[in-house]
Amino acid sequence: MITLAERINGMFLDVKKAIKERDPSVIHELAKKQTEAGATYLDINVGTAAADQEDAMRWLVEATQEAVKTPIAIDSQKLSVIKAGLEVVKNDVMINSAQGDPEVLDTYMPLAKKHNAALICLTMNKEGIPQNIDTRIEIAAEIAGKAMEHDMDMDKIFIDPILFTISVDQKQPAYMLEVFNQIKLISDPPPHITVGLSNLSQGTKEKSLISRTFLTMAIAAGMDTALMDVLDTELMDAAICAEMLLNKQIYSDSFLKAARR
Protein backbone atom coordinates (compact mmCIF):
# COMPACT_ATOMS: atom_id res chain seq x y z
CA MET A 1 0.00 0.00 0.00
CA ILE A 2 0.96 3.66 -0.27
CA THR A 3 1.85 5.14 3.10
CA LEU A 4 2.03 8.79 4.12
CA ALA A 5 4.20 9.08 7.22
CA GLU A 6 2.59 11.46 9.69
CA ARG A 7 5.34 12.41 12.11
CA ILE A 8 6.70 15.61 10.54
CA ASN A 9 3.83 17.67 11.86
CA GLY A 10 3.97 20.82 13.95
CA MET A 11 1.30 19.36 16.23
CA PHE A 12 4.01 17.12 17.71
CA LEU A 13 5.99 18.99 20.31
CA ASP A 14 9.45 17.96 19.06
CA VAL A 15 8.63 19.18 15.55
CA LYS A 16 7.02 22.35 16.87
CA LYS A 17 10.17 23.12 18.82
CA ALA A 18 12.38 22.30 15.83
CA ILE A 19 10.38 24.70 13.64
CA LYS A 20 10.62 27.42 16.23
CA GLU A 21 14.36 27.00 16.70
CA ARG A 22 15.01 26.10 13.05
CA ASP A 23 16.82 22.96 14.25
CA PRO A 24 17.00 20.59 11.26
CA SER A 25 18.45 17.61 13.16
CA VAL A 26 15.04 16.57 14.53
CA ILE A 27 13.55 16.71 11.03
CA HIS A 28 16.48 14.83 9.50
CA GLU A 29 16.07 12.03 11.99
CA LEU A 30 12.30 11.75 11.51
CA ALA A 31 12.73 11.78 7.74
CA LYS A 32 15.30 8.99 7.85
CA LYS A 33 13.48 6.85 10.40
CA GLN A 34 10.18 7.05 8.59
CA THR A 35 11.83 6.34 5.23
CA GLU A 36 13.55 3.27 6.67
CA ALA A 37 10.21 2.15 8.11
CA GLY A 38 8.81 2.04 4.57
CA ALA A 39 7.07 5.40 4.08
CA THR A 40 6.05 6.05 0.46
CA TYR A 41 5.55 9.77 1.18
CA LEU A 42 6.66 11.91 4.09
CA ASP A 43 3.71 14.10 5.03
CA ILE A 44 4.80 17.60 6.08
CA ASN A 45 2.46 19.77 8.12
CA VAL A 46 3.55 22.93 9.92
CA GLY A 47 0.71 22.71 12.43
CA THR A 48 -0.87 25.82 13.82
CA ALA A 49 1.82 27.19 16.07
CA ALA A 50 4.19 28.74 13.53
CA ALA A 51 3.80 32.47 13.13
CA ASP A 52 4.73 32.45 9.44
CA GLN A 53 3.31 29.19 8.11
CA GLU A 54 4.61 29.71 4.55
CA ASP A 55 8.16 30.20 5.75
CA ALA A 56 7.87 27.27 8.16
CA MET A 57 6.69 25.01 5.30
CA ARG A 58 9.58 26.06 3.07
CA TRP A 59 12.02 25.34 5.87
CA LEU A 60 10.49 21.94 6.71
CA VAL A 61 10.51 20.80 3.08
CA GLU A 62 14.13 21.86 2.66
CA ALA A 63 15.19 20.25 5.92
CA THR A 64 13.50 17.00 4.89
CA GLN A 65 15.13 17.04 1.46
CA GLU A 66 18.55 17.48 3.05
CA ALA A 67 18.12 14.06 4.65
CA VAL A 68 16.21 11.92 2.13
CA LYS A 69 14.93 11.69 -1.44
CA THR A 70 11.60 10.22 -0.32
CA PRO A 71 8.55 11.80 -1.97
CA ILE A 72 6.91 14.55 0.06
CA ALA A 73 3.24 15.28 0.78
CA ILE A 74 2.70 18.97 1.45
CA ASP A 75 -0.07 19.04 4.02
CA SER A 76 -2.03 22.23 4.66
CA GLN A 77 -5.55 23.60 4.45
CA LYS A 78 -4.12 26.86 3.10
CA LEU A 79 -3.28 27.28 -0.56
CA SER A 80 -0.55 29.81 0.21
CA VAL A 81 1.24 27.30 2.48
CA ILE A 82 0.98 24.57 -0.18
CA LYS A 83 2.38 26.95 -2.80
CA ALA A 84 5.25 27.84 -0.48
CA GLY A 85 6.11 24.13 -0.15
CA LEU A 86 5.86 23.59 -3.91
CA GLU A 87 8.31 26.46 -4.51
CA VAL A 88 11.15 24.58 -2.85
CA VAL A 89 10.27 20.92 -3.29
CA LYS A 90 12.67 18.83 -5.38
CA ASN A 91 11.52 15.31 -4.48
CA ASP A 92 8.38 13.77 -6.00
CA VAL A 93 5.41 15.52 -4.46
CA MET A 94 1.79 15.20 -3.40
CA ILE A 95 -0.60 17.97 -2.39
CA ASN A 96 -2.60 17.23 0.78
CA SER A 97 -5.32 18.38 0.30
CA ALA A 98 -8.10 20.10 -1.66
CA GLN A 99 -11.80 20.25 -0.81
CA GLY A 100 -14.28 18.80 -3.30
CA ASP A 101 -15.91 22.06 -4.46
CA PRO A 102 -15.63 22.47 -8.26
CA GLU A 103 -14.10 25.95 -8.03
CA VAL A 104 -11.52 24.74 -5.50
CA LEU A 105 -10.58 21.80 -7.75
CA ASP A 106 -10.27 24.20 -10.68
CA THR A 107 -7.49 25.90 -8.72
CA TYR A 108 -5.77 22.84 -7.24
CA MET A 109 -5.80 20.50 -10.22
CA PRO A 110 -3.91 22.83 -12.61
CA LEU A 111 -1.48 23.52 -9.75
CA ALA A 112 -0.94 19.78 -9.25
CA LYS A 113 -0.43 19.27 -12.99
CA LYS A 114 2.06 22.11 -13.18
CA HIS A 115 4.19 20.46 -10.49
CA ASN A 116 3.49 16.89 -11.67
CA ALA A 117 2.06 16.36 -8.18
CA ALA A 118 -0.41 13.81 -6.87
CA LEU A 119 -3.46 15.37 -5.23
CA ILE A 120 -5.55 14.33 -2.24
CA CYS A 121 -9.15 15.51 -2.58
CA LEU A 122 -11.50 15.48 0.40
CA THR A 123 -15.13 14.45 0.00
CA MET A 124 -16.27 17.67 1.64
CA ASN A 125 -17.32 21.03 0.30
CA LYS A 126 -18.31 24.44 1.57
CA GLU A 127 -21.39 22.89 3.16
CA GLY A 128 -19.14 20.81 5.37
CA ILE A 129 -18.47 17.11 5.76
CA PRO A 130 -21.40 14.97 4.58
CA GLN A 131 -22.92 12.74 7.21
CA ASN A 132 -24.04 10.03 4.82
CA ILE A 133 -22.60 7.66 2.26
CA ASP A 134 -24.41 9.01 -0.78
CA THR A 135 -23.19 12.58 -0.57
CA ARG A 136 -19.62 11.41 -0.04
CA ILE A 137 -19.86 9.26 -3.18
CA GLU A 138 -21.46 12.15 -5.06
CA ILE A 139 -18.54 14.43 -4.21
CA ALA A 140 -16.05 11.65 -5.04
CA ALA A 141 -17.68 11.28 -8.46
CA GLU A 142 -17.48 15.04 -9.00
CA ILE A 143 -13.79 14.93 -8.14
CA ALA A 144 -13.19 12.10 -10.64
CA GLY A 145 -15.14 14.07 -13.26
CA LYS A 146 -13.05 17.18 -12.62
CA ALA A 147 -9.87 15.11 -12.91
CA MET A 148 -10.96 13.96 -16.37
CA GLU A 149 -11.88 17.52 -17.33
CA HIS A 150 -8.39 18.67 -16.31
CA ASP A 151 -6.87 15.65 -18.06
CA MET A 152 -5.27 14.43 -14.86
CA ASP A 153 -3.99 10.87 -14.67
CA MET A 154 -6.35 9.00 -12.28
CA ASP A 155 -3.23 7.46 -10.72
CA LYS A 156 -2.46 10.94 -9.34
CA ILE A 157 -5.85 11.39 -7.66
CA PHE A 158 -6.34 10.28 -4.06
CA ILE A 159 -9.85 10.56 -2.64
CA ASP A 160 -10.11 10.98 1.12
CA PRO A 161 -13.64 10.29 2.40
CA ILE A 162 -12.66 11.69 5.83
CA LEU A 163 -12.45 9.38 8.80
CA PHE A 164 -13.70 10.72 12.15
CA THR A 165 -12.60 9.79 15.61
CA ILE A 166 -14.35 6.67 16.89
CA SER A 167 -15.73 8.63 19.83
CA VAL A 168 -17.57 11.01 17.47
CA ASP A 169 -19.55 8.41 15.57
CA GLN A 170 -19.20 4.68 16.07
CA LYS A 171 -21.36 3.79 13.07
CA GLN A 172 -18.88 5.49 10.79
CA PRO A 173 -16.12 2.85 10.34
CA ALA A 174 -18.61 0.33 8.98
CA TYR A 175 -20.18 2.71 6.50
CA MET A 176 -16.76 3.99 5.51
CA LEU A 177 -16.04 0.47 4.19
CA GLU A 178 -19.10 0.82 1.98
CA VAL A 179 -17.82 4.21 0.78
CA PHE A 180 -14.48 2.61 -0.22
CA ASN A 181 -16.27 -0.12 -2.13
CA GLN A 182 -18.32 2.42 -4.07
CA ILE A 183 -15.46 4.83 -4.83
CA LYS A 184 -13.70 1.98 -6.64
CA LEU A 185 -16.61 1.90 -9.09
CA ILE A 186 -16.73 5.57 -10.07
CA SER A 187 -14.11 5.35 -12.80
CA ASP A 188 -11.92 2.87 -14.62
CA PRO A 189 -9.14 2.97 -13.63
CA PRO A 190 -10.38 4.13 -10.22
CA PRO A 191 -8.72 6.87 -8.16
CA HIS A 192 -6.71 5.92 -5.09
CA ILE A 193 -8.54 5.91 -1.77
CA THR A 194 -6.88 7.36 1.28
CA VAL A 195 -7.69 8.18 4.92
CA GLY A 196 -6.08 9.85 7.89
CA LEU A 197 -5.88 6.59 9.82
CA SER A 198 -4.72 7.95 13.16
CA ASN A 199 -7.83 10.17 13.38
CA LEU A 200 -9.90 7.08 14.06
CA SER A 201 -8.21 6.16 17.33
CA GLN A 202 -7.57 9.71 18.54
CA GLY A 203 -8.18 9.93 22.26
CA THR A 204 -8.63 6.20 22.79
CA LYS A 205 -6.56 3.89 24.98
CA GLU A 206 -5.93 1.32 22.23
CA LYS A 207 -4.65 3.45 19.37
CA SER A 208 -2.41 0.88 17.73
CA LEU A 209 -4.92 -1.99 17.90
CA ILE A 210 -7.81 0.13 16.61
CA SER A 211 -5.67 1.49 13.77
CA ARG A 212 -4.41 -1.85 12.59
CA THR A 213 -7.76 -3.62 12.87
CA PHE A 214 -9.46 -0.94 10.78
CA LEU A 215 -6.53 -0.81 8.37
CA THR A 216 -6.88 -4.49 7.43
CA MET A 217 -10.66 -4.13 7.04
CA ALA A 218 -10.16 -1.01 4.93
CA ILE A 219 -7.53 -2.61 2.67
CA ALA A 220 -9.98 -5.44 2.02
CA ALA A 221 -12.61 -2.85 1.02
CA GLY A 222 -10.28 -1.14 -1.46
CA MET A 223 -8.49 1.59 0.48
CA ASP A 224 -4.89 1.62 -0.74
CA THR A 225 -3.34 4.67 0.91
CA ALA A 226 -3.23 6.06 4.46
CA LEU A 227 -1.70 8.87 6.44
CA MET A 228 -0.45 6.84 9.38
CA ASP A 229 2.19 6.05 11.97
CA VAL A 230 4.72 4.15 9.84
CA LEU A 231 6.93 3.73 12.91
CA ASP A 232 4.31 1.36 14.37
CA THR A 233 5.79 -1.90 13.06
CA GLU A 234 2.74 -3.97 13.99
CA LEU A 235 0.61 -1.61 11.94
CA MET A 236 2.95 -1.82 8.94
CA ASP A 237 3.13 -5.62 9.23
CA ALA A 238 -0.67 -5.85 9.37
CA ALA A 239 -0.85 -3.94 6.07
CA ILE A 240 1.71 -6.27 4.45
CA CYS A 241 -0.16 -9.32 5.74
CA ALA A 242 -3.54 -8.00 4.55
CA GLU A 243 -2.17 -7.47 1.06
CA MET A 244 -0.73 -10.98 1.04
CA LEU A 245 -4.08 -12.45 2.19
CA LEU A 246 -5.82 -10.54 -0.61
CA ASN A 247 -3.38 -12.12 -3.10
CA LYS A 248 -1.80 -8.77 -3.92
CA GLN A 249 1.57 -10.21 -2.86
CA ILE A 250 2.73 -13.77 -3.34
CA TYR A 251 3.21 -15.65 -0.08
CA SER A 252 6.63 -17.01 0.83
CA ASP A 253 7.99 -18.00 4.25
CA SER A 254 9.92 -14.72 4.35
CA PHE A 255 7.16 -12.53 2.86
CA LEU A 256 7.10 -10.15 5.81
CA LYS A 257 10.83 -9.59 5.82
CA ALA A 258 10.89 -9.21 2.06
CA ALA A 259 8.08 -6.67 1.99
CA ARG A 260 9.58 -4.63 4.84
CA ARG A 261 12.66 -3.75 2.77
Partner: protein
Protein backbone atom coordinates in the same frame (compact mmCIF):
# COMPACT_ATOMS: atom_id res chain seq x y z
CA UNK B 1 -15.14 9.63 -32.53
CA UNK B 2 -12.03 9.53 -30.44
CA UNK B 3 -11.00 6.02 -29.49
CA UNK B 4 -10.17 5.63 -25.83
CA UNK B 5 -6.63 4.66 -24.96
CA UNK B 6 -6.88 1.33 -23.18
CA UNK B 7 -3.17 0.60 -22.85
CA UNK B 8 -2.43 -1.46 -19.72
CA UNK B 9 0.59 0.03 -18.04
CA UNK B 10 2.49 -2.16 -15.60
CA UNK B 11 4.31 -0.66 -12.63
CA UNK B 12 6.99 -3.38 -12.62
CA UNK B 13 9.69 -4.50 -15.05
CA UNK B 14 11.50 -7.83 -15.31
CA UNK B 15 15.17 -7.27 -14.56
CA UNK B 16 17.70 -7.56 -17.34
CA UNK B 17 20.36 -10.21 -16.89
CA UNK B 18 23.52 -10.24 -19.01
CA UNK B 19 25.02 -13.67 -19.69
CA UNK B 20 28.54 -14.00 -21.04
CA UNK B 21 31.40 -11.53 -20.99
CA UNK B 22 33.40 -10.37 -24.00
CA UNK B 23 37.16 -9.75 -23.98
CA UNK B 24 36.56 -6.11 -23.11
CA UNK B 25 34.45 -7.20 -20.16
CA UNK B 26 37.00 -9.64 -18.77
CA UNK B 27 35.80 -12.81 -20.47
CA UNK B 28 36.41 -14.53 -23.80
CA UNK B 29 32.92 -14.59 -25.40
CA UNK B 30 32.30 -13.18 -28.87
CA UNK B 31 29.23 -11.44 -27.53
CA UNK B 32 27.02 -11.46 -24.48
CA UNK B 33 23.28 -12.21 -24.39
CA UNK B 34 20.85 -10.03 -22.45
CA UNK B 35 17.54 -11.54 -21.32
CA UNK B 36 14.52 -10.05 -19.49
CA UNK B 37 13.58 -6.38 -19.50
CA UNK B 38 9.88 -6.85 -20.21
CA UNK B 39 7.27 -4.54 -18.73
CA UNK B 40 4.21 -5.95 -20.46
CA UNK B 41 2.40 -9.25 -20.91
CA UNK B 42 4.48 -11.44 -23.30
CA UNK B 43 4.41 -10.17 -26.90
CA UNK B 44 1.80 -7.47 -26.09
CA UNK B 45 4.22 -4.82 -27.29
CA UNK B 46 1.47 -2.21 -27.70
CA UNK B 47 1.16 -2.12 -23.88
CA UNK B 48 4.84 -1.57 -23.15
CA UNK B 49 8.30 -2.88 -23.88
CA UNK B 50 8.37 -6.66 -24.35
CA UNK B 51 12.07 -6.61 -23.42
CA UNK B 52 14.57 -8.94 -25.04
CA UNK B 53 13.49 -11.82 -27.24
CA UNK B 54 13.51 -15.27 -25.67
CA UNK B 55 16.97 -16.82 -26.12
CA UNK B 56 17.50 -20.44 -27.14
CA UNK B 57 19.99 -22.45 -25.11
CA UNK B 58 20.94 -25.77 -26.68
CA UNK B 59 21.89 -28.60 -24.36
CA UNK B 60 25.30 -30.26 -24.32
CA UNK B 61 25.84 -33.13 -21.86
CA UNK B 62 29.11 -34.13 -20.27
CA UNK B 63 28.27 -37.80 -20.94
CA UNK B 64 26.41 -39.31 -23.90
CA UNK B 65 22.66 -39.26 -23.21
CA UNK B 66 21.34 -42.78 -22.61
CA UNK B 67 17.74 -42.50 -23.65
CA UNK B 68 17.61 -40.18 -26.62
CA UNK B 69 15.38 -41.56 -29.38
CA UNK B 70 16.92 -42.03 -32.79
CA UNK B 71 15.23 -39.00 -34.48
CA UNK B 72 17.08 -36.77 -32.00
CA UNK B 73 20.26 -38.78 -31.58
CA UNK B 74 20.97 -38.89 -35.31
CA UNK B 75 21.84 -35.18 -35.28
CA UNK B 76 24.46 -35.63 -32.58
CA UNK B 77 25.66 -39.25 -32.96
CA UNK B 78 29.16 -38.20 -34.01
CA UNK B 79 29.66 -35.68 -31.18
CA UNK B 80 27.94 -37.07 -28.04
CA UNK B 81 31.25 -38.22 -26.57
CA UNK B 82 32.93 -34.87 -27.25
CA UNK B 83 31.18 -31.92 -25.56
CA UNK B 84 33.34 -29.32 -27.34
CA UNK B 85 32.42 -30.62 -30.79
CA UNK B 86 28.83 -30.99 -29.63
CA UNK B 87 28.80 -27.31 -28.64
CA UNK B 88 30.19 -26.34 -32.08
CA UNK B 89 27.34 -28.22 -33.69
CA UNK B 90 24.81 -26.35 -31.53
CA UNK B 91 26.27 -23.06 -32.73
CA UNK B 92 25.77 -24.24 -36.34
CA UNK B 93 22.16 -25.08 -35.42
CA UNK B 94 21.59 -21.50 -34.24
CA UNK B 95 21.98 -21.70 -30.46
CA UNK B 96 22.15 -18.36 -28.62
CA UNK B 97 23.64 -20.06 -25.58
CA UNK B 98 25.14 -23.44 -24.71
CA UNK B 99 23.67 -25.19 -21.66
CA UNK B 100 26.23 -27.67 -20.35
CA UNK B 101 24.33 -30.19 -18.23
CA UNK B 102 26.63 -32.04 -15.87
CA UNK B 103 24.69 -35.29 -15.56
CA UNK B 104 27.96 -37.25 -15.50
CA UNK B 105 29.01 -35.93 -12.07
CA UNK B 106 26.05 -37.69 -10.41
CA UNK B 107 27.19 -40.56 -8.15
CA UNK B 108 24.64 -42.88 -9.80
CA UNK B 109 26.05 -42.12 -13.25
CA UNK B 110 29.77 -41.59 -13.93
CA UNK B 111 30.74 -39.71 -10.75
CA UNK B 112 33.06 -37.60 -12.91
CA UNK B 113 35.70 -35.63 -10.99
CA UNK B 114 35.95 -31.87 -10.59
CA UNK B 115 39.17 -31.65 -12.60
CA UNK B 116 37.72 -33.59 -15.52
CA UNK B 117 34.60 -31.38 -15.41
CA UNK B 118 36.71 -28.22 -15.41
CA UNK B 119 38.57 -29.50 -18.51
CA UNK B 120 35.25 -30.17 -20.24
CA UNK B 121 34.02 -26.66 -19.46
CA UNK B 122 37.28 -25.12 -20.69
CA UNK B 123 37.17 -27.17 -23.89
CA UNK B 124 33.71 -25.77 -24.64
CA UNK B 125 34.80 -22.21 -23.90
CA UNK B 126 37.64 -22.68 -26.37
CA UNK B 127 35.50 -24.35 -29.02
CA UNK B 128 32.68 -21.80 -29.15
CA UNK B 129 32.36 -18.12 -28.31
CA UNK B 130 28.68 -17.91 -27.25
CA UNK B 131 27.77 -17.58 -23.54
CA UNK B 132 27.55 -20.63 -21.32
CA UNK B 133 25.00 -22.01 -18.87
CA UNK B 134 26.44 -24.62 -16.51
CA UNK B 135 23.91 -26.82 -14.74
CA UNK B 136 24.76 -29.35 -12.02
CA UNK B 137 23.32 -32.83 -11.56
CA UNK B 138 20.90 -31.84 -8.78
CA UNK B 139 22.67 -34.06 -6.27
CA UNK B 140 23.41 -31.50 -3.56
CA UNK B 141 26.63 -33.05 -2.35
CA UNK B 142 28.17 -33.41 -5.80
CA UNK B 143 26.93 -30.00 -7.00
CA UNK B 144 28.43 -28.34 -3.92
CA UNK B 145 31.73 -30.09 -4.59
CA UNK B 146 32.01 -29.59 -8.36
CA UNK B 147 30.27 -26.29 -9.15
CA UNK B 148 32.61 -24.15 -6.97
CA UNK B 149 35.57 -25.51 -8.95
CA UNK B 150 33.82 -24.83 -12.24
CA UNK B 151 32.83 -21.37 -11.09
CA UNK B 152 36.39 -20.51 -10.15
CA UNK B 153 37.78 -21.86 -13.41
CA UNK B 154 35.35 -19.72 -15.42
CA UNK B 155 35.72 -16.55 -13.36
CA UNK B 156 35.08 -13.49 -15.49
CA UNK B 157 33.03 -15.37 -18.13
CA UNK B 158 29.73 -14.29 -16.50
CA UNK B 159 28.16 -17.73 -16.97
CA UNK B 160 24.70 -18.67 -15.75
CA UNK B 161 25.18 -21.37 -13.10
CA UNK B 162 22.61 -23.50 -11.32
CA UNK B 163 20.65 -24.54 -9.80
CA UNK B 164 20.08 -23.59 -6.17
CA UNK B 165 17.06 -24.63 -4.09
CA UNK B 166 15.75 -23.45 -0.73
CA UNK B 167 17.43 -26.48 0.88
CA UNK B 168 20.78 -26.04 -0.88
CA UNK B 169 21.81 -22.57 -1.92
CA UNK B 170 24.55 -21.15 0.28
CA UNK B 171 27.67 -22.69 -1.27
CA UNK B 172 26.77 -22.16 -4.91
CA UNK B 173 25.35 -18.68 -4.31
CA UNK B 174 28.54 -17.65 -2.52
CA UNK B 175 30.86 -18.86 -5.30
CA UNK B 176 28.75 -17.32 -8.06
CA UNK B 177 28.78 -14.06 -6.13
CA UNK B 178 32.56 -14.17 -5.75
CA UNK B 179 33.26 -15.19 -9.35
CA UNK B 180 30.81 -12.80 -11.01
CA UNK B 181 28.42 -15.40 -12.43
CA UNK B 182 24.64 -15.34 -12.77
CA UNK B 183 22.56 -17.80 -10.75
CA UNK B 184 19.55 -20.07 -11.40
CA UNK B 185 17.08 -20.31 -8.48
CA UNK B 186 14.91 -23.41 -8.65
CA UNK B 187 11.53 -24.28 -7.11
CA UNK B 188 9.36 -27.35 -7.75
CA UNK B 189 6.34 -25.80 -9.57
CA UNK B 190 5.62 -23.84 -6.39
CA UNK B 191 5.24 -20.08 -6.57
CA UNK B 192 5.71 -19.61 -2.81
CA UNK B 193 8.97 -21.55 -2.71
CA UNK B 194 9.97 -19.79 -5.93
CA UNK B 195 9.72 -16.46 -4.15
CA UNK B 196 11.35 -17.80 -0.98
CA UNK B 197 14.52 -18.97 -2.72
CA UNK B 198 14.88 -15.58 -4.40
CA UNK B 199 14.62 -13.87 -1.02
CA UNK B 200 17.16 -16.28 0.47
CA UNK B 201 19.82 -15.68 -2.18
CA UNK B 202 19.23 -11.91 -2.06
CA UNK B 203 19.73 -12.12 1.73
CA UNK B 204 23.22 -13.47 1.08
CA UNK B 205 23.93 -10.26 -0.83
CA UNK B 206 23.54 -11.78 -4.28
CA UNK B 207 22.79 -8.99 -6.80
CA UNK B 208 19.22 -9.16 -8.06
CA UNK B 209 20.25 -8.34 -11.62
CA UNK B 210 22.03 -11.70 -11.80
CA UNK B 211 19.14 -14.05 -10.94
CA UNK B 212 17.23 -16.27 -13.37
CA UNK B 213 14.30 -18.35 -12.07
CA UNK B 214 13.59 -21.98 -12.89
CA UNK B 215 10.13 -23.16 -11.86
CA UNK B 216 10.81 -26.63 -13.34
CA UNK B 217 9.17 -27.60 -16.61
CA UNK B 218 6.44 -29.98 -17.72
CA UNK B 219 6.14 -30.89 -21.41
CA UNK B 220 2.93 -30.92 -23.39
CA UNK B 221 0.77 -33.65 -21.84
CA UNK B 222 3.03 -33.85 -18.79
CA UNK B 223 1.94 -30.95 -16.63
CA UNK B 224 2.56 -28.07 -19.03
CA UNK B 225 -0.54 -26.33 -17.65
CA UNK B 226 0.92 -26.25 -14.11
CA UNK B 227 4.18 -24.92 -15.41
CA UNK B 228 2.39 -22.38 -17.62
CA UNK B 229 0.27 -21.03 -14.78
CA UNK B 230 3.28 -20.71 -12.47
CA UNK B 231 5.23 -18.79 -15.13
CA UNK B 232 2.22 -16.62 -15.79
CA UNK B 233 1.67 -15.85 -12.12
CA UNK B 234 5.36 -15.12 -11.60
CA UNK B 235 5.37 -12.77 -14.58
CA UNK B 236 2.22 -10.95 -13.50
CA UNK B 237 3.71 -10.54 -10.01
CA UNK B 238 6.86 -9.09 -11.59
CA UNK B 239 4.84 -6.69 -13.73
CA UNK B 240 2.79 -5.70 -10.67
CA UNK B 241 5.99 -4.64 -8.93
CA UNK B 242 6.93 -7.70 -6.82
CA UNK B 243 10.68 -7.20 -6.56
CA UNK B 244 11.32 -10.76 -5.44
CA UNK B 245 9.71 -12.20 -8.57
CA UNK B 246 10.97 -9.76 -11.18
CA UNK B 247 13.57 -12.04 -12.74
CA UNK B 248 13.88 -13.68 -16.14
CA UNK B 249 12.62 -17.28 -16.35
CA UNK B 250 14.41 -20.28 -17.86
CA UNK B 251 12.59 -23.45 -18.88
CA UNK B 252 13.86 -26.92 -19.79
CA UNK B 253 11.87 -27.88 -22.85
CA UNK B 254 14.21 -30.24 -24.71
CA UNK B 255 14.83 -32.75 -21.95
CA UNK B 256 11.16 -32.84 -20.89
CA UNK B 257 9.74 -33.13 -24.42
CA UNK B 258 12.11 -35.93 -25.43
CA UNK B 259 11.32 -38.14 -22.47
CA UNK B 260 7.60 -38.17 -23.31
CA UNK B 261 6.23 -41.39 -24.72
CA UNK B 262 5.01 -39.43 -27.74
CA UNK B 263 8.63 -38.66 -28.64
CA UNK B 264 9.90 -42.16 -27.91
CA UNK B 265 7.27 -44.54 -29.28
CA UNK B 266 8.28 -46.07 -32.61
CA UNK B 267 6.05 -46.25 -35.70
CA UNK B 268 5.33 -49.96 -35.21
CA UNK B 269 4.22 -49.39 -31.59
CA UNK B 270 1.68 -46.63 -32.32
CA UNK B 271 1.14 -46.36 -36.08
CA UNK B 272 -1.90 -44.10 -35.51
CA UNK B 273 0.25 -41.36 -33.89
CA UNK B 274 1.93 -40.21 -37.06
CA UNK B 275 5.57 -40.34 -38.08
CA UNK B 276 8.11 -41.21 -35.35
CA UNK B 277 10.65 -39.10 -37.22
CA UNK B 278 8.55 -35.93 -36.77
CA UNK B 279 6.67 -36.46 -33.51
CA UNK B 280 9.44 -35.63 -31.04
CA UNK B 281 10.58 -32.41 -32.67
CA UNK B 282 6.95 -31.26 -32.96
CA UNK B 283 6.42 -32.11 -29.28
CA UNK B 284 9.44 -30.04 -28.41
CA UNK B 285 8.46 -27.10 -30.64
CA UNK B 286 4.88 -27.01 -29.34
CA UNK B 287 6.00 -27.19 -25.71
CA UNK B 288 8.40 -24.29 -26.33
CA UNK B 289 5.97 -22.06 -28.25
CA UNK B 290 3.25 -22.66 -25.65
CA UNK B 291 5.50 -21.75 -22.74
CA UNK B 292 6.70 -18.64 -24.59
CA UNK B 293 3.20 -17.21 -24.17
CA UNK B 294 3.45 -17.62 -20.39
CA UNK B 295 6.56 -15.44 -20.26
CA UNK B 296 9.90 -17.26 -20.53
CA UNK B 297 13.26 -15.70 -21.35
CA UNK B 298 15.57 -18.67 -21.93
CA UNK B 299 14.40 -21.94 -23.51
CA UNK B 300 16.58 -25.04 -23.26
CA UNK B 301 16.18 -27.15 -26.40
CA UNK B 302 17.63 -30.16 -28.25
CA UNK B 303 16.40 -30.84 -31.77
CA UNK B 304 17.85 -28.54 -34.47
CA UNK B 305 14.63 -28.37 -36.47
CA UNK B 306 12.56 -27.65 -33.36
CA UNK B 307 15.03 -24.83 -32.63
CA UNK B 308 14.59 -23.38 -36.10
CA UNK B 309 10.77 -23.61 -35.84
CA UNK B 310 10.80 -21.84 -32.47
CA UNK B 311 13.24 -19.16 -33.65
CA UNK B 312 11.02 -18.46 -36.64
CA UNK B 313 8.00 -18.27 -34.35
CA UNK B 314 9.83 -15.78 -32.12
CA UNK B 315 10.64 -13.64 -35.17
CA UNK B 316 6.99 -13.72 -36.22
CA UNK B 317 5.83 -12.60 -32.79
CA UNK B 318 8.34 -9.81 -32.25
Amino acid sequence: MEIANIVDKCPGTVKEVIIGATKDEGGTRGKSITVGGSNCIPFMDFDGSPGHKPAIAMDVYDIPPEEWPEPLMKHYADVVDNPANWAKKCVEFGADLICLKLDGIHPDKKNISASETVSTVKSILEAVDIPLIIWGCENDERDNEILPKVSEATKGERCLIGSVTQDNYKTITAVCLADGHNLITQAPVDINIGKQINILVADLGFPTDRIVMFQTTGALGYGIEYCYSIHERARIAALSGDRQMSFPIICDVGHEAWRSKESKARDDEVPQWGSFADRGKMWEAITATTLMQSGVDIIRMNHPEAVSIVKKHIENLT
